[in-house]
Symmetry: C2
């Protein structure tokens, strides 16, 4: 019996040329034990910390799910939940609502924290909320080619942008009708080689 | 009846002189609608995003709570939960366990997400986990003057470093013995002026 195919690894994007200005050297600054990214021209230390992505699984009165088709890389053309990096000075819920507005001109009411996904490979923490659509009027923002409301059976599973989109949708389904629940976390990685 | 005293506002730290090198101008870069912090010498954009603080309410077999007395500002000398900024390449749980080790040489087993606190004023999102102490041996790390295990009745409530320490301890008490619960969030702000 032939071994199973390896999981699909998307092609790596081209590596940009090494920068010649700005923070570009990795070294331990005076008084620190960790290496940091520094600028050798002015000694600026570009502290790097994981980034928070906030988003929401938004349903309407008939239980359909809001999805946005990405206009920008990565995964342009694929469908995703409204989500994006948190900005300074906002709460996680405000960020999730802002992204729904920016990406789909969707007004949403946030209900609960649905999931916390760690993607340490790219130093991201994703916080996905459960929300309902307050106003049926939606339209693509600048980062979306199109947006739409999808019944569960119509979700384009083969055209989702990232694994966490599917995780979060299933998280919603598993908690439908419940309140006071613990948020979901990363599913176990697939077992390979068996 | 005299009006209530205003809430205590700690004195502001001195304002450092304006930088003359590195990212120091706030302006909207080409193609962006938001202002960003940029370096006029090399056009480097210092994207700023909220930072995640990870920490834990750690209890031992007798139900005592791990607290650390801070050796560094802010609030040096005051008691806090083991917590700190997430580093690149780790998960939130790994970060919380790392901080417990660094600040109190405490080995912990994480059980559940206890609370998510938004502090937008300083662009922080705090994720506090519930954990148990795996090994009774604890000792202060470089960022702690001392560490100790405190029964609820012995917690130095008047000497806690930050409001969220008290919030998280009470969150633990409110969920003691429960599983599968929703994490706590910021309590409502105190009502002033009544």
């Amino acid at each position: 019996m032939p071994p199973p195919s390896p999981p699909h690894t998307p092609p790596r994007p081209p590596v940009p040329p090494a920068p010649t200005t700005g923070p570009r050297l990795r070294t331990a600054p005076q008084g620190e034990d960790r290496e940091r990214l520094v600028c050798p021209d002015c000694n600026y230390i570009a502290y790097e910390n994981p980034k928070i992505v906030v988003g929401a699984v938004v349903t309407d009165a008939t239980g359909r799910f809001l999805l946005c088709r990405r206009a920008i890389e990565p995964r342009r053309g694929f469908w995703t939940l409204p989500a994006g990096y948190m900005e300074l000075g906002e709460t996680t819920e405000q960020g999730a609502a802002r992204e729904a507005w920016e990406e789909a001109t969707a007004r949403i009411a946030i209900d609960a924290l649905l999931a916390v996904y760690n993607i340490p490979r790219i130093s991201q923490v994703q916080m996905i909320y459960r929300a309902s659509l307050s106003d049926p009027a939606i339209a693509p923002g600048t980062e979306s080619l199109e947006v739409g409301m999808f019944a569960w059976g119509d979700i384009p599973w083969d055209e989702l942008a990232f694994p966490s989109v599917s995780w979060a949708l299933h998280e919603w389904r598993d908690r439908a009708g419940l309140t006071g629940f613990a948020p979901g976390t990363n599913p176990p990685p697939p077992v390979e080689g068996l």
